[in-house]
């Protein structure tokens, strides 16, 4: 479904990606794990078109999407939940969800989808007229996920959904991700919480300074001695 082929990204003199390649198949959850600064967010942002590639190619459902503007990539069916949630603080919960559905014009369908998101996240429903800046971290993460679903994507990019959340909330967020995937959504998940990521992903790529050093089935990576000592702390 998604193929990243030999991606290079530079920020000025900083070389953030050095020939990274990976594939994501329909219906999968694929995890990207790695330390701070390994280049995980850069990968998601290059898929979304926010950062230009120095070299390499990205194809999605048979089309080349590298070099296309971000607003067109959303219309191709790729939605991103950015790192740090980035909800629109000056807008209400309801307005944030409406922003998520910006590319759509079917107002009936939009209203139904917002209702569906409120059923999935009852805590958002109770706070729909509240400014999103007043939400807790966990609620903001739910809002960011709900907002990304509003464009009805076929591929969902999640950047560190567990960041800064208490363990119980992390469990809850991962249960939701699993449910969304069970509904047929393909997911590319970036996580520092490697054990959680490996527990829900079918496959994973381990990143170190801009390239993948290891990839394979999550079950295999979870028992790999190098992965265990470097990322699972065991």
């Amino acid at each position: 479904m998604l193929t990243l082929d030999n991606l290079y990204v530079n920020y000025g003199a900083i070389r953030a990606l050095k020939g990274f390649s990976c594939t994501v198949n329909q219906g999968e959850i694929v995890a990207l794990i790695g330390a701070n600064g390994a280049g995980k967010s850069t990968i998601l942002n290059s898929i979304s078109g926010l950062v230009p590639l120095a070299a390499g190619k990205i194809t999605f459902l048979g089309d080349t999407i590298s070099g296309i503007a971000p607003h067109r990539i959303v219309r191709k069916g790729i939605s991103q939940v950015p790192e740090g949630r980035r909800v629109f603080a000056t807008m209400t919960v309801q307005e944030n969800l409406e922003m998520g559905g910006y590319i759509r014009t079917d107002s009936k369908g939009l209203r139904d989808d917002i209702e569906r998101i409120f059923i999935r996240f009852p805590r958002l429903a109770e706070r729909k007229q509240q400014l999103s800046s007043t939400l807790s971290g966990g609620e903001q993460q739910m809002l960011a996920i709900g907002r990304a679903l509003m464009s009805r994507p076929t591929l969902l990019l999640l950047d560190e959904p567990s960041m800064g959340l208490a363990p119980m909330l992390v469990e809850q967020i991962f249960t939701i991700i699993r449910e969304i995937n069970a509904g047929g959504m393909t997911i590319l998940l970036v996580e520092q919480n490697a054990s959680m990521a490996l527990s829900i992903a079918s496959r994973a790529y381990v990143l170190e300074s801009g390239n993948s050093v290891l990839h394979g089935r999550s079950a295999d990576l979870a028992i790999d001695p190098n992965v265990r000592s470097a990322y699972l702390g065991t």
């Binding site: 979304s48 078109g49 926010l50 503007a69 971000p70 607003h71 959303v74 219309r75 939605s79 991103q80 950015p82 980035r86 629109f88 603080a89 000056t90 807008m91 307005e95 409406e98 922003m99 998520g100 910006y102 590319i103 907002r147 464009s151």
Partner: protein
């Protein structure tokens, strides 16, 4: 007497507010002080002058024409002078803005000469309305009504339409707005278009009110409107409206109190005083660093 001055102040302040809105909207979206904005106002005044005195058009049609001319001008300025510099330092964009400003006023001087020109006498029938002790001219009523109408429309666009929501999203977080599918470049063009249309309206209204249109009128009006925008809190739309009105009323009050030789200094004195007490301006939010 007091009522009279208040109305004079509100009429002048409405025009400042119209121009100030353009500064604040553009700043809110691209964090750039559009130094050419005062010249857009000047071009609006000339476009209205041309439409009324040469084409003999009705003042309302002239207003619409001036707004269209300035929309095109504002959008072109952004694409030619600012867009290529969007990823460079703020200073380069600022210098480019000053360049455009000098270019436009020099061009106007070459085309229309150095002498101030007036709108035709009969372009708007002025009569006096007596309201208690005050004499209000129909021209003041016109200025206040048109300004109010434009500001209400702007508020409606920004808060009640899909485009407005995209503008707010872009002004808050450019990258995340793009992730929602917003074509950020288009939103920036729309912002320049709206701001320039308001400045054009201000230009025509000032042209009729003071009956003096000149190539350098954008400088002082632009500076004062900028002061109004900062006074209200740069980036805040209600702030620009409040700042403009406040500035107009105080300026008129200052003149009435006998400080007419300090007329232009009053705006900046207030600005300095307010910023000392509240650096973000009256309605400004904490200044967020854009990423």
């Amino acid at each position: 007497m007091l009522l009279q001055q208040l109305i004079n102040g509100i009429a002048l302040g409405s025009v400042y507010a119209l121009i100030a809105l353009g500064y604040t909207m553009v700043y809110g979206i691209v964090t750039l002080i559009n130094f050419a904005h005062g010249e857009i106002f000047m071009v609006g005044a000339f476009a209205g002058l041309y439409a009324t005195s040469v084409l003999h058009l009705n003042i309302f049609i002239a207003l619409v024409i001036a707004m269209i001319v300035c929309i095109l001008l504002g959008v072109a300025i952004e694409q030619i002078a600012y867009r290529p510099l969007r990823k460079s330092t703020r200073l380069s964009a600022l210098i480019s803005a000053i360049g455009v400003s000098i270019f436009l006023s020099t061009l106007a001087q070459m085309l229309f000469g150095s002498n101030a020109k007036g709108y035709p006498e009969d372009c708007f029938p002025v009569s006096q309305i007596h309201l208690g002790s005050a004499d209000i001219s129909t021209l003041q009523v016109l200025i206040i009504a048109i300004s109010a109408l434009l500001m209400v429309s702007l508020h409606f666009i920004v808060h009640r339409t899909r485009m407005g929501r995209a503008m707010r999203a872009t002004s808050e977080d450019y990258h995340t707005a793009a992730l929602m599918g917003v074509d950020v470049n288009r939103i920036i063009s729309v912002t320049f278009a709206l701001g320039s249309a308001l400045a054009a309206a201000g230009g025509v209204l000032v042209g009729v009110l003071f009956n003096a249109v000149s190539f350098n009128m954008g400088l002082m009006a632009g500076l004062k409107a900028f002061a109004a925008a900062v006074l209200g809190g740069i980036g805040s739309l209600p702030g620009a409206m409040l700042g403009g009105l406040l500035l107009g009323v105080t300026e008129v009050a200052g003149v009435a109190a006998g400080f007419s030789s300090y007329r232009d200094a009053i705006a900046f004195a207030i600005l300095v005083l307010v910023l000392l007490v509240k650096p973000t301006g009256l309605l400004g939010r904490k200044i967020q660093k854009k990423v």
